[in-house]
């Protein structure tokens, strides 16, 4: 991510814009590649491969459009961005997914996300936040389990309830 400063002079090549254009072109290529693997089994009318190709053409054109915009430096100015909180929240999401994936249960997973997000927004009282998170997610779990009979992912903590 290039963090250009707000007073960036116009008419300068925007690297991020070029990357975006490249990604769009790559996406178009993936679509065409995927569509080639489809058999046209539909006996009548249009097959399943037609739409991906149409969308791929659109994406390719947009890649060119974005590329031109980037070369001309036509992109809107961006303010600087602080990666630390973003990374913290992403760690929280990764923890959530990992805990659920490995059977740690809803309460632990959700609490992890709560605490990291709260830290990302500047709180440092991890212990207090953990307690809040645990209580809250336990209540949510109970509400789903008892009132809606929907079983959220269960782990060691849930089995104690």
């Amino acid at each position: 991510m290039t963090s250009g400063d707000p007073a960036q002079p116009p008419r300068r090549v925007d690297r991020a814009g070029i990357i975006i254009a490249a990604l769009l072109a790559a996406l178009a290529a993936v679509l065409v590649f995927d569509a080639r693997g489809l058999q046209s089994t539909a006996m009548y009318g249009m097959g399943p491969e037609a739409m991906p190709v149409v969308i791929a053409i659109g994406l390719a054109l947009l890649a060119i459009g974005n590329f031109v915009d980037a070369l001309r430096g036509n992109l809107p100015a961006r303010e600087s961005s602080d990666p630390v909180p973003v990374v913290l929240i992403l760690i929280g999401l990764a923890l959530l997914i990992a805990i659920i994936g490995f059977g740690g249960g809803f309460i632990l997973a959700t609490s992890a996300l709560f605490v990291t997000t709260s830290a990302a927004f500047g709180r440092r009282a991890v212990l207090v936040d953990s307690i809040i998170a645990l209580v809250m997610s336990t209540l949510i779990y109970l509400a789903f389990d008892r009132l809606l009979t929907l079983s959220l992912p269960a782990g060691p903590l849930e089995r104690l309830l």
Binding site: M1, G17, L24, L27, V30, L31, D34, A35, L38, A42, Y44, G45, M46, P48, M51, P52, I55, G58, L59, L62, G65, N66, D69, L75, R78, E79, S80, S81, D82, P83, P85, V86, I89, L90, G92, L93, A94, L96, I97, I100, T110, L113, F114, V115, T117, S118, A119, A120, F121, G122, R123, D129, A133, M136, S137, I140, L148, T149, L152, P153
Partner: protein
Amino acid sequence: MDTFAALAHGMAVAIQPMNLLYALIGVFLGTAVGVLPGIGPALTVALLLPVTYKLDPGGSLIMFAGIYYGGMYGGSTTAILINTPGESASMATALEGNKMAKAGRGGPALATSAIGSFVAGTIATIGLAFLAPWLVDFAVRFGPEDYFALMCVAFVTVSATFGDSPIRGLTSLFIGLTLGLVGIDKLTGQARLAFGVPELLDGVEVTTLAVGLFALGEALYVASRRHHSEEKLEPVRGSLWMTKEDWKRSWKPWLRGTMFGFPIGALPAGGAEIPTFLSYSTEKRLTKYPEEFGKGAIEGVAGPEAANNASAAGTLVPLLTLGLPTSATAAMMLAGFQQYGLNPGPLLFAERPDLVWGLIASLFIANVMLLVLNLPLVGLWVKLLAIPQPWLYAGILVFATMGTIAAKPSVVELSMLAGFGVLGFLMRRFDFPIAPVVVGLILGPIAESQLRRALAISLGDPMTLLQSPISATLLGIALVALLAPFVLKGMGRFKANED
């Protein structure tokens, strides 16, 4: 007229104390559950079916109707307050509603949405009572080619959500269209863009995408900019309630939203999303305050919210008159009818008028109850925004992931949610509009499958699109809507409003 007598009789059924109680339980549960993203009214009705079979048929159906209307209300509350649409139909509400909430106008936003829903729900229920037989004849005549033409109209009008640059708007739309391709092709059963991952075969869930882009993306973006200035949310700025000005700006969008929502909701494949987009675009075109759109224009909340609720009443038209379930919730209500050995359809009106009219009457009552339940809550909801920022956003993220965890607790689904969150963050950072992505995901697959159905029926002859009068008319409207801006621009407005 017969209908009046029948309706009066139905009212007598509906205001029996027990039935009032069922309606109250229904709207309460519906609102509570509608608030949760990913858990819609259909799921609630499904889970409550076994509980209710001990009740009498009238009572439990009244309760289901309450859940249905309540769910429609609940979805918009979270959309406005925390930018987390509870279901896809409240996505359009989030666009302006959340901006209003951030500007301290959450109160009026919630109020216009509640009152708009009430107005739309009431008008649409009247429509259900009086126009149903006529409307359903029209609805059934809609063939695949006509739906495709309707999608074309919708595609043309979504440009209203594009923001300043057509290239970036279209880029967002095409990302959405690409996501719409993922999964099993409905017509041939072949997997597209699934890359051998079984969880991808069912495609991208609209709520997963919307919650990821809107709620997660927003949280990441706000976090990344925290060092600039502590974004202070002021829960209430100005009046908590709607001002005279707000009323003046709201009532027309309410009515127009109803006009979109009710008929399209009555179409068997119409749905609630399309009318909300159409309403949003219309309001943006017609407003006297175009500069407010994108920054929290009340018309952009009032219209889609009305459309959303009117379409809910619309879906009951084919359900009651034909036994045609056209939404997941309607399908569950059909199951509710069937568990009492009742088959909705023309015979039901003749055989059990007390039940049908009792249900329609209780829809009116549910609407009143929702208004009474929701308006006093506005003040309470808005206070939620006063929670300190770290807890507020942590809570939003927990809340946003919860729906996905409950509905589809798989690592793949959660990873998609997180991925969409990152996408939403990057799109905000590089100034791409968010809404067209979701629009593309919703409209793309419908447009594709209806076009392919039409072509299969006509054995590949594209003229079928012009031979149907409905389709030809709609395509004409789409063409006019597409060209009109260029014509207007040519008339000297060119480059007038570039900012």
